[in-house]
Every structure is written in C-alpha cells, then in structure tokens.
C-alpha cells in the first residue's frame, strides 16, 4: 500500500476528473476542463490543416477529401459539442462571477446545458444526415 499522500499537489490534477461524490456543478467543472483541453488540441490541428493551404489549392482539396469520412465527421461533431458545452458553461461562470444570479445558478446551469444539448443534437442531425 502507498504511504500517506493527502496534501495538495499539482500532480493530483487527475482528481479534477474524478466524478465520485461530485455535484452537478462539479461534474460541469470536469466537463469544462475536458472540453477546454479538447478545444485547445483542436486549435493546433486546425492550424496544421490550414497550413496545407501554403502548399497550394490542390494540396488543401486533397486533404479535405481525405478527412471526408465518418471518423473525422464524428471528430468534428465532438468539437462542436465541446464548443457549445464550454461556451455556455463559460456564460454561467462569467455571469455568476459578477455576482449576478448566484442564488439561481443551478437553474441557470441546467438551462444553459439544455441549450448546449439541443444545439449539439441539431448539429448532429445536420452533420450525420448531410
């Protein structure tokens, strides 16, 4: 068994994603971290993709043909979902950080996440049926 390790440490970042005992806002905190990391990764991939333009129109068109398959479309869907969840949760954090709507923040969270979910479903229908 391990020795006692009960003090704060940056190496415990994995705890951010531990859902045990978390309330709704705590789970949203984890989601915000996951989506934030995902969107940051996507930003770099996006810049790499845009970099193909420097090699000419044909290179870009060929790359677009390459990624036009269900695997990459699902990846794009995840980016949209992450953007909506992160964005709408961010709205809640900004509003409450100004001291506005704090007593009703749980309802605000549910409404904003419902909007994010509906938006995600609309995008899913459009992306997978196009």
């Amino acid at each position: 068994m391990n020795k006692v390790d009960n003090e704060p440490s940056r190496s415990k970042w994995i705890e951010w994603f531990n859902p045990q005992g978390r309330n709704l806002e705590g789970i949203t905190f984890s989601l915000n971290r996951i989506t934030g990391l995902g969107l940051t990764l996507y930003l770099f991939l996006h810049l790499i993709v845009l970099g193909t333009l420097a090699r000419g129109a044909n290179a870009y068109d060929n790359f677009i043909k390459l990624v036009h398959n269900p695997f990459f479309i699902f990846g794009e869907f995840l980016v949209v979902a992450a953007g909506l969840i992160h964005g709408f949760n961010g709205i809640r954090i900004v509003i409450t950080s100004l001291g506005i709507g704090v007593p009703t923040e749980k309802r605000l969270l549910v409404v904003l996440m419902a909007i994010a979910l509906i938006g995600t479903l609309i995008f899913a229908v459009r992306m997978f049926t196009a």
Binding site: N6, R10, F29
Partner: protein, 255 residues
C-alpha cells in the same frame, strides 16, 4: 432512536507515521438513526483503541469531526447512518483531503486556521451583521446589541471537496474567502491585496463543491462570487472616483 438494527461494514482508513496506508474492516450492529461519529466512537471504544480521530462537541458547533464518508465530505456528528448507507451496506471512512494526515482520520488543519486569521475572519459577530431569516434591523435597540457565533465552524469540509484546493497548496480556499467576504473589503481594504491575487478569489473555478458539502449554511461559493463583485467594484471605483483611489492608496501602503 428506534429498535431497528442494521448490520454495517465500516472500512476505516489507517495511517500511522511513515507506515503504509491501509483500510481496517469492522462489522457493527447499528441503529440507522445513530450518527456516523457514534459508529466510529464505538469502534474506538470496543474494537481498536489505537484508532485516531478528531471530535468534540457532537452537535456541529466545533467542526472537528469532518471526514469523508463513502467519498463525500460529511460532518459525521450530524450525519445519520441511514443517510449514507443501507442495511448490509458499507461505510468507507477516510480523512479530509488536502490536509496533512496526523494519524488515521485526524488531519492537521493549522493551515486553515492561519489563513482564517490572515483575512481577519470573525468567529463572533454582531447580530446586525448576520445573515439570518428575520432581519435583525427590525429588532429593538436592546436586541441589536447581541452577538452571535459566525456560521463558519472551520470544519474544512469545503477545502477537502474543492478540486482546486487539491492541486494548489497556495489557494486560500473557500472557507477563507468566505471569511474575507464576511469581513468585507469596504471595512477592511487591506484584504484586497490578499484576495485579489493569483491564489485568491480568481483561482476558484465555480465547481460549487464547497457549498454542496458545507454543513453550516455558509454557502462559500456564493460568498466567493460576491467577493469577486466587491473586488471588481473596488477596481471600478479606483478608475473613476476619489474614494476608490483612496482604497488603492491603502492597498499600496499595505504592500
């Protein structure tokens, strides 16, 4: 209390000195309306006198008996067993997170107490400053002279539940920021320097776990958000009027 008896398995976190961490298992017959602390005390009294844990008042005033029960922070003296397990179920009892373990379930909460002092958190306050149902301002002049204990019992449950406190030892933490909010930046402008900092009010990431586990209706998350509003108000005043500039001057002097 009732005549109903439940068989409950207690899994107790054990750690002594540099020895290995492990869980000891005990089986107890309990009344489901007993509190978790009652069970722990019986384990100590009749099963293992080397078990170390903190407790004092048994009525949620001292804040000493905070522990993690099945992964959730609880003040064990007011947590009925039926609320956290079932007949034949298990209670996994662990110390609070984010504090050094002294022994078994007892943690060293010195860092919390020092920080509460740092922000001049009040342990008693005039009733006129209390957030209670009936506004004390409606009371007679005589009644308004009373003082009352602060809501925060410094139990540390919020620090244990906070995901940011788990990774940032310098973060002031929910209880401390709530204490600063209660004091108020307008009454104690020197607090601005402490709370408007990297490890202060802006480190909170709105997980609201502190409010979820607080046994004393302090609602630290709401207080942190209010403190942010106060900080922003001070900055705004600093930009546009003399009073704010004076506050900033005080801030400079205290640096």
């Amino acid at each position: 209390m009732s005549n109903i008896r439940w068989k409950v398995t207690f899994q107790i976190y054990r750690a002594k000195g540099d020895g290995p961490v492990h869980f000891d298992t005990f089986f107890l017959d309990v009344d489901p309306d007993e509190y978790v602390l009652d069970g722990v005390e019986r384990l100590w009294a009749f099963h293992d006198r080397s078990l170390c844990y903190r407790h004092a008042c048994h009525h949620s005033t001292c804040g000493a008996c905070g522990m993690r029960v099945n992964g959730v922070e609880k003040l064990t003296c007011i947590t009925p067993i039926r609320e956290v397990t079932t007949d034949g179920g298990t209670l996994r009892i662990e110390p609070l997170r984010n504090f050094p373990v002294v022994s078994d379930l007892a943690v060293d909460m010195g860092s919390l107490y020092l920080r509460m002092d740092q922000v001049h958190a009040k342990s008693v306050l005039p009733v006129t400053e209390a957030e209670i149902e009936k506004s004390p301002r409606d009371w007679s002049a005589e009644d308004q002279q009373y003082i009352r204990l602060s809501d925060c019992i410094e139990c540390g449950l919020c620090i244990s539940a906070c995901p940011i406190s788990a990774t940032d030892a310098d973060y002031l933490g929910p209880a401390v920021l709530a204490g600063a909010q209660q004091t108020g930046l307008s009454k104690d402008p020197a607090l601005v320097e402490i709370v408007d900092s990297e490890d202060g009010v802006w480190r909170c990431h709105s997980a609201y776990e502190c409010t979820a586990v607080c046994p004393s209706f302090v609602d630290p998350a709401r207080r942190i958000m209010n403190l942010r509003r106060q900080v922003l108000g001070q900055r705004w005043q600093g930009l546009f009027n003399r009073k704010g500039a004076q506050n900033l001057a005080v801030e400079e002097v205290t640096r």
